[in-house]
């Protein structure tokens, strides 16, 4: 230790101490104002990488939540459309059964045919349903109107592909039901085939075809639509589970980030109080040490 203490030295020590205390205070102020311990990479070089990783992870999770919500909307609308199609098919089947009796008069049969045709048309409308400007049932050709009626035959302009939504990194799920699966067992395909069969049979006066082929076609159409609705239901369930899981992951990721990055307010305030006390003490000590001089005591 120095054997002589000069005023300059006392002064330098005093100013040094004040500067250091102010730096601590300013650091604590930055932390308390931002609520974060880590404000620059320099503050904690070890944690910063993890913080950035979790930041992007949280954003990804939120993104996947959004994807899931959008996919569920798409599926809900599709499901509503398929529900309508089921109702159409059921009503059409009832009417087919009535026509199959062969006891209806010509007028009645024409009335039933008209109703069947309206149901057919409604089914096509369902097939051409849009959601936010996208056709629901045309595969990935969502800008193309999938179904067009041409002399009781329906042409399909869509494709058989699936629209995929990413539920989690690397995991996608199909959110659509293509109107045509290319194998003749697509949901709208079988429905339109049934309508065509019954209408052709009525127009051709072929009662036996109505009772056999048409009813079988309607049954398989109802099976197909039932299967598709089950499929949608199962996928919707998976998305719901996924949404729950994402929420939980999101919460724990946010908690982890908070642990790394956020300031414990109580600890921060305690530190601030300590720093403030030190600062005040330094000022008080400086005021007492710097003043006295031998000159004060000479005569």
């Amino acid at each position: 230790m120095a054997n002589k203490v000069t005023l300059q030295l006392l002064n330098a020590n005093f100013i040094n101490g004040l500067r250091r205390n102010s730096r601590t205070l300013s650091e604590l102020q930055k932390q308390l104002v931002s609520g974060r311990v880590v404000n620059t990479p320099e503050d904690d070089p070890n944690a910063i990488g993890t913080i950035l990783l979790i930041d992007s992870e949280i954003k990804r999770i939120e993104q996947h939540e959004r994807n899931t919500a959008l996919g569920r909307d798409f599926m809900n609308i599709s499901e509503a459309g398929l529900g309508q199609l089921t109702a159409d098919l059921q009503r059409a089947r009832e009417l087919t059964v009535r026509v199959a009796n062969g006891t209806l008069g010509t007028d009645d049969r024409l009335a039933v045919r008209e109703e069947l045709f309206q149901l057919f048309d409604d089914a096509i409308t369902v097939g051409n349903q849009q959601f936010a400007g996208r056709y629901l049932f045309s595969g990935t050709r969502t800008k193309v109107k999938p179904f067009a009626l041409n002399a009781l035959a329906v042409t399909y302009s869509g494709n058989t592909k699936s629209i995929l939504a990413e539920l989690d990194t690397g995991h996608t799920i199909a959110i659509n039901i293509a109107g045509d699966d290319g194998a003749g067992t697509g949901v709208f395909q079988t429905a339109f085939k049934a309508f065509k069969t019954v209408l052709d049979a009525i127009d051709g006066g072929n009662i036996s075809a109505i009772s056999s082929a048409a009813l079988t076609d309607f049954d398989s159409a109802l099976d197909a639509v039932g299967l598709s609705r089950t499929l949608l239901g199962a996928r919707a369930k998976r998305m719901l589970i996924n949404e729950d899981r994402l929420q939980q992951v999101s919460i724990s990721a946010k908690r982890f980030r908070s642990e790394l990055q956020d300031l414990d307010i109580a600890e921060g305030i305690t530190k601030l109080t300590t720093a403030e006390t030190t600062f005040r003490a330094a000022l008080a000590v400086g005021a007492r040490v710097l003043q006295p001089s031998l000159l004060d005591f000479l005569r």
Binding site: T6, A132, T140, N159
Partner: protein
Amino acid sequence: MAGLLQGISTALSGILSQQSSLQTVAHNVANANTEGFSRQTAPLKATDPINLPGLSAQPGRGVLGTGVRAAVVTRNRDSFLDLQFREGSEQLGQFEAIRDTLRQVEAIFGEPSESSISSVAQNLFDALQDLSGFPEDTSARTAVIESARTFAFRIGRAYEGITTIQSDLNNRVVAGVNEINATATELATLNTQIARGSAGDSPANDLMDRRDVLLDDLSKLVGIKITSHANGEVDVRIEGMLIVARDKTFSLTTAVNVTTGFDDIVYSPFSTVLSPSNGTLAGLIDARDVKLGSVAASTGILSRLDTYTSNLIAETNALHRGQYGLEPSGAENITAISSVLGSTGSYTITSDGAGNLTATFTPTSGSASTAITGTITAGGTKNTLIPGVTLTAAAAFTGTTTTITVADGLVLSTGGDIASAVDISGSFSIVPDVGAGTVAITFTPVGGSASAAVTKTFTAGAANAGLITGLTLTFDVTADLTDGGADSITTGNNFFQGITAVTGIAARDIDTHSSFLTSLTVLAASSSYNEEGDGIGALNLSNIGIDTFTALGNTSFNEFHRATVSSLGADTRQNSTAADNQEDLLGLINATRQSTSGVSLDEETADLLRFQIAFQGSARVLTSIDELLDLIVNRLGIIGR
């Protein structure tokens, strides 16, 4: 026996010496707050005694003191402490320069915050994810393009910001050299004055203090070695090179380094480059050349930023080129090469149904005005149509056979069937067999014979990279050219542009592709042609941030950037901790130095009292002798008068 008169001179010497000491105290007090001032003392020494034979009671000689004199005024200074202080201050200067630079870079990167590079990149990837959920949507496309622009802008500004710091560092290096030269001149002048002072008997204490202050300042700027001469002059060396030799100076100058574009420090006498290893200058140069570095030399932060950017551009573009945008309304399917690696642009191929083809090629990097259109009749060949691509129609053109010739301008890697080829010319004959769902592709080199042709058959819609090394061809054979509609292929576009010239720097020049300025449909969000509802293309693009790439050492872009930020933080912290420690150490050395050289007012006041009282004492002795003389002269021998 000494006389009374001898006592007068002894007392006088006391008065004069104390007076001189008082003068020294006054000088010390006056300079109590002068920077670099060393406390001066004038040690008192007894004057040589005189020998008086009769003084001693013993036989032999006696010795009588003759008073006091103030010896040479010396300054209290410990040159070892100076050495320590200067070494410490050299290192402090170096750490501070690096720390301050890295802190600026940290601020430019802005991590962690909403406006940081990683946040902006994440926003782009998120926008692409949103687009993948709704690829037909114009607003989702706009959001992607806008966030891509923000990302490109953010990277560009960061690069610019760092280069601004770099040129500022360079200016400070040049200013530092000027300061060294100015200080050297001043030191040489002081050397001369000090030598002159020492030659007489008045040591140039105050001048030496001033020189020490200059040396302290200089040592913070650059590491120096000091050697002293007997006459008080000093020599100063920087990295072994003499800067000051007694009263002479050797100047430093700066010269622009052709490789780095920044200034080197040059030792004028030898015209050799001088690289300081210590001091602020060393820190500035280290920060400028190593920490910030350069893209060309693959060093420092700039290179990291550029590696990140250029690879991101390359990977995004490669992915984007192989994907599909929205088809313009009214356009139809086409049969053509949908992507040729190395030759990017948009082909519009129209046939009139009578066997005539009109092909227009708009290069990716060019504008619409550079598009070239030409018409070929069946059986004709057109190789001047476009420098890069020539269409040759088959002799019996039916619309199901298209021949596309690739000529100049195509850069291919070597290997496989081609031993060495930079520009390759040849023709691809593409024959789709719609019934079988296959495509037969034949490549016939221009200079080769028909036997050199390579044919490969593959399924429609598939890509074949094995036909010729360096080429990947993807085909769509769902429609033909005979229907007379205008078709266009929008793949082959880049997502980003930036590397405009050979000297282009990706991080500086990055921008979204110019085609996005006029069209949103060219944004390729689909992985398959003509499937506007398929968002897998956008999903692929959004995964670029987390996919690993060999070019980045098997890390992902996000990881690569995180590593940059982490090491930046660690580096800053290391230098700032070192600077703090060095500051503490310097404080300690300075305290020790102060305790030797500093002026304590209390001590001086005590000395003042001491010398004042001694002065009074000497004066009292003089008065006493005076009274004695008066007694002898005026009152002795007057009895009986």
